[in-house]
């Protein structure tokens, strides 16, 4: 392979948008858990409630800090006053749960009847004394994980604009700093500050389970990079300070609105990097951040090699196999890039929405990975058509299809191995440490097959008559 040869250009297409995905209001399920003092109020219909109730599964029985403001006929025909109705419900929430923030999730219905949530929120906020964040995470405009993007973009506006003057206070508000300093004496903390290189403040965005936050923060610390804050933080009251000129970096591929908001409204500088998924992605992510701060990365190459070595038992199962992404959660490009690096080929990546600017570095890494691994670049299909995809899957016979639950069982019954895509959204997949978890998921159907190999139970539906 000659180094001068440019990577093969990626091929983008757009289909009909007739595909299955989760409604973006599902972000409530993980965000209410992440932001511990929040309450999410979804202003919608029974349809929205039914979806959440079923999609959240057993979480719904754990008295979640979430509820529906269910719109009735009177609300639709504007016989009832929206402001009064919302006030009544929010006061009830204040009384019963006393949250630090109420997040209103606008839905398709509030869009169509043009309920002015953004206009009502500040008024009500002043009246009841609880901050209200409005996010329009509806199925008319967005898919699945993009819901988080709309919520975080709205939260950007609530981040403090200036670091408080008193140093102690700053440490109070900064959760991550506290976390890193946990149990240490003041002098140690001061000494520790010097472990960091002097660089402009960096804020990361994207909701991650706490262990992942700690993990990525420490990973950057090894390079002398200090994470000044994280959007969102564990508590709403700990939202990071964001001043003009701060650097920001995303940890997930679906956060393009949040990125844009940070750049345009808060005049932050976005570090466009591949996402820290897989050891290759994590290394590229750290390297890019280092390069922006003119830091020479230390020990990353060895670290990556070491992780790959530890993954070998799983990678062995994947090498030479093919994977097809039907597309529903926007993690597809990063996951495909990682799996191609594992030695898989990938004929098609379906994806709900492709922001070529926000994902530029990831796309470049994908093209480069394909070239280095000597596999053809995948077709990237935006707004895919599930019916057409199924026909292509029958033709291509991929070894693994990453798809939603609506198609998983029917495909399995036809002898096609599937992995349920939603699991990648909920599992911990970021950073060096979690690379194994991604492969745990990806190889599970293949390992299951090794176990059942000799039974001859592959096709479990009668041959369909060809018309």
């Amino acid at each position: 392979m000659t180094a001068t040869q440019a990577p093969q250009a990626l091929d983008f297409e757009c289909e009909t948008g007739n595909y299955h995905t989760f409604c973006p209001i599902s972000c409530v399920a993980w965000l209410y858990q992440k932001i511990e003092d929040s309450f999410f109020l979804v202003i919608g219909t029974k349809t929205c409630g039914y979806f959440l109730q079923n999609a959240m599964g057993v979480m719904i029985f754990a008295e979640p800090r979430y509820a529906m403001a269910e719109l009735e006929e009177g609300d639709i025909s504007a016989q009832l006053n929206d402001y009064e109705e919302l006030k009544r419900l929010c006061l009830q929430i204040k009384r019963d749960r006393n949250p630090s923030v109420i997040v209103w999730i606008g839905t398709c219905t509030t869009e169509i009847i043009k309920m002015d949530l953004e206009g009502l929120a500040p008024k009500l906020e002043a009246e009841i004394g609880i901050p209200i964040v409005t996010a329009r995470a509806n199925g008319l405009d967005y898919a699945f994980t993009q819901g988080e993007d709309t919520v975080l973009a709205a939260m950007v506006h609530k981040c403090p604009k200036q670091a408080p003057v008193v140093e102690e206070e700053k440490q109070e508000r900064n959760a991550i700093q506290k976390l890193l300093h946990f149990g240490r004496k003041q002098e140690d903390v001061a000494a520790q500050e010097s472990e960091y290189v002097d660089h402009p403040p960096l804020v990361l965005f994207g909701s991650m389970p706490d262990p992942v936050v700690t993990n990525l923060t420490l990973e950057l610390k090894k390079q002398g990079i200090k994470v000044s804050g994280w959007l969102p933080a564990k508590r709403y009251t700990e939202l990071p300070v964001i001043e003009e000129g701060y650097y920001v970096a995303g940890v997930n591929p679906f956060l393009s609105r949040t990125a844009t908001t940070l750049m345009r409204r808060r005049k932050c500088k976005l570090i466009g990097a591949p996402f820290p998924i897989g050891p290759d992605g994590t290394r590229a992510w750290i390297e890019k951040i280092c390069s922006v701060f003119s830091i020479e990365p230390k020990g990353l190459e060895e670290r990556e090699a070491q992780i790959w070595a530890s993954l070998e038992d799983y990678v062995k199962l994947l090498r030479g196999k093919s994977v097809f992404f039907m597309g529903d959660n926007l993690l597809e490009i990063s996951l495909a890039r990682f799996l191609i690096r594992c030695g898989m080929s990938c004929p098609e990546i379906g994806i709900p929405y492709m922001d070529k600017r926000y994902q530029k570095a990831e796309l470049d890494l994908l093209a480069k990975t394909c070239q280095e691994m000597g596999v053809p670049a995948p077709k990237i299909i935006e707004k895919p058509d599930n019916y057409n995809q199924i026909q292509r899957i029958y033709e291509l016979k991929p070894d693994l299809v990453i798809t939603g639950m609506a198609h998983a069982n029917p495909m399995e019954a036809r002898g096609i191995n599937t992995k349920w895509s939603v699991e990648f959204t909920f599992a911990q997949i970021h950073g060096f440490t979690n690379a194994r978890d991604v492969l745990e998921l990806a190889t599970r159907p293949l390992r299951r097959n090794n176990n059942l190999k000799e039974l001859g139970w592959e096709k479990l539906v009668k041959e369909e008559a060809k018309i």
């Binding site: 719904i60 979640p64 719109l71 419900l89 929430i93 509806n138 008319l140 539906v461």
Partner: protein
């Protein structure tokens, strides 16, 4: 606006989709935003369906809002007609289409011109009907559509079948144990020498609907789905219907006697008494169970029942009438059909609760502290929190309520299944009884600590020892009652005397 955390019955379109996807070769196209095809996930997961769920969305997005969805809907229908060649496409409105107020009727007419299969618009309004009502209506709508079509062509099946026959109406996908109930009913009819003419909608073909009038009568096993259809068939074709759910020994017998009467009125001359007697006494185990020592130990135990109309009413009757259990409260979330429920259960329970609010039923359970609950998954979780066992008898349900093994609720095998469910829920009556006699064997140190640690009241040594003799599953309740009693009277130390006084005061 209503603050809601949980709903018992889903939105209207779910009902329509359940009916459409129960039929063979019928495709539903939802007029809905991206993300509302969650039905497919549920069907694929819960029913473990091997086939693709025949439901697609005609996606409503920004473009559609700006330009209207006519073209898109029509294209999608025509496309699906070509791809899958369904017999029927049901255009399914959602909450979104209810407010867009587009002329979906017109789209259907347009699409019909270019489609080989039939196309109809499900006539349900999101704001006026829930899942169950919508399912009931959609089934009727499809049946009427095909019978009228057949009538115009003169294709309606002539006369009655030679032997007595029945249509079973209302078995559907995602219905609680519906698959098993369907099989059990077929067996039952077979035992009685009755031919099953059609089962709808599950597994039925729309082409066969024209044969419906050939049956001698219709059987509607569930209160929620199928009655409108049965009433239509009665009116148009003079077909009698039976709406007694054969759930439980007494109700099954009542259902069979009614069938006998209906058939004899048409000259069949059948007598099922011996069959009923034989099944009841020797084949089904439920009557014998009622008589056995096991069940004797359940006598007077308190239970709460909550669910849909069919299952909650049947369970209440079974518990009270067939097992001697004290049903303190029976409730339903089928608010729209509350009168029927009240009439069915009023003589078998102390209180009736009609509510769609899970908080209300949860509070009632906490207040009553029954020995067992029979409810939905929501009540099961309430039970978990309060340490009260719960048998699940109605939707909403989870994957574990779609068992692979044969578990009907209807017919004679159903009575056996229900007996098991009830008995297992009451934490094994005999065992409990023995524990009580021998003072319990649950004396682990940890439990002592647990009990004294979370209490602000002081239990003296004897009282604590006595409390530990109380069988595990009622211990919490005895402790709570005693402490409540002590608190009300300002007693700070709980002695044996206080315990007994508390016990006497509640009369238990």
């Amino acid at each position: 606006m209503k603050l809601a955390y949980w709903m018992y019955a889903g939105p209207a379109h779910i009902g329509t989709l359940r009916i459409a996807s129960s039929f063979k070769n019928v495709h539903a196209i939802m007029h809905a935003p991206l993300g509302d095809d969650y039905f497919n996930v549920m069907r694929s997961m819960l029913e473990r369906e091997r086939d693709y769920t025949p439901v697609t969305a005609s996606v409503v997005d920004r473009n559609v809002l700006a330009r209207g969805s006519q073209e898109k809907v029509v294209d999608n229908i025509v496309r699906k007609d070509k791809e899958e060649k369904p017999d029927l496409i049901v255009l399914t409105p959602t909450c979104t289409s209810s407010i867009l107020q587009e002329d979906l009727h017109n789209f259907v007419e347009r699409a019909q011109m270019d489609s080989k299969g039939d196309v109809i618009l499900a006539d349900v309004n999101h704001y006026r009907a829930n899942e169950l009502q919508a399912a009931d209506r959609t089934l009727d709508q499809i049946v009427q559509f095909y019978l009228e079509k057949a009538r115009k062509k003169g294709e309606i099946g002539e006369g009655k079948t030679e032997k007595p026959s029945v249509n079973i109406i209302g078995i559907s996908t995602l219905g609680f144990h519906n698959q098993h109930d369907g099989t059990e009913l077929k067996r039952l009819m077979n035992d009685l020498g009755i031919e099953v003419n059609e089962i709808i909608p599950e597994g039925a073909s729309v082409h066969n609907l024209k044969n419906l009038p050939r049956a001698w009568f219709n059987l509607v096993p569930y209160r929620e789905i199928g009655l409108i259809t049965a009433r239509y068939l009665e009116q148009e074709f003079d077909m009698p219907y039976i709406d007694i759910s054969p759930m439980g020994v007494v109700e099954t017998a009542r259902c069979l006697r009614k069938i006998q009467q209906v058939l004899n009125a048409q000259g069949a001359e059948v007598d099922y008494e011996e069959y009923i007697n034989n099944q009841t006494l020797y084949v089904s185990q439920a009557a014998w169970f009622s008589r056995s020592i096991d069940c004797q130990n359940l006598t007077g135990k308190k239970a709460v029942v909550f669910g849909d109309n069919t299952h909650a009413a049947a369970m209440t009757k079974i518990l009270a009438r067939e097992m001697g259990i004290h049903v303190v409260l029976a409730g339903t979330y089928c608010k729209y059909d509350a009168d029927w429920f009240k009439e069915q259960v009023s003589e078998y329970c102390d209180q009736i609760l009609i509510s769609e609010d899970n908080g209300e039923i949860g509070d009632a359970i906490a207040r009553i502290e029954p020995s067992a609950i029979f409810g939905t998954q929501m009540e099961r979780h309430v039970g978990k929190r309060l340490n009260i066992p719960c048998g699940v008898i109605a939707a909403p349900i989870h994957i574990q309520d779609f068992p692979i093994g044969y578990k009907p609720f209807l017919g004679y095998e159903g009575t056996n299944q229900i007996a098991d469910l009830v008995y297992n829920s009451f934490t094994l009556g005999m065992e409990d009884h023995l524990l009580e006699i021998f003072g319990g064997h649950d004396t682990k140190e940890v439990i002592h600590k647990g009990i004294s640690a979370d209490s602000d009241l002081n239990w003296n040594k004897e009282a604590k020892a006595e409390l530990n003799k109380v069988p595990g599953f009622v211990r919490g309740k005895v402790k709570r009652n005693t402490e409540k009693f002590a608190r009300e009277r300002g007693i700070s130390e709980i002695t044996l005397e206080v315990m007994y006084a508390a016990k006497e005061s509640v009369g238990a």
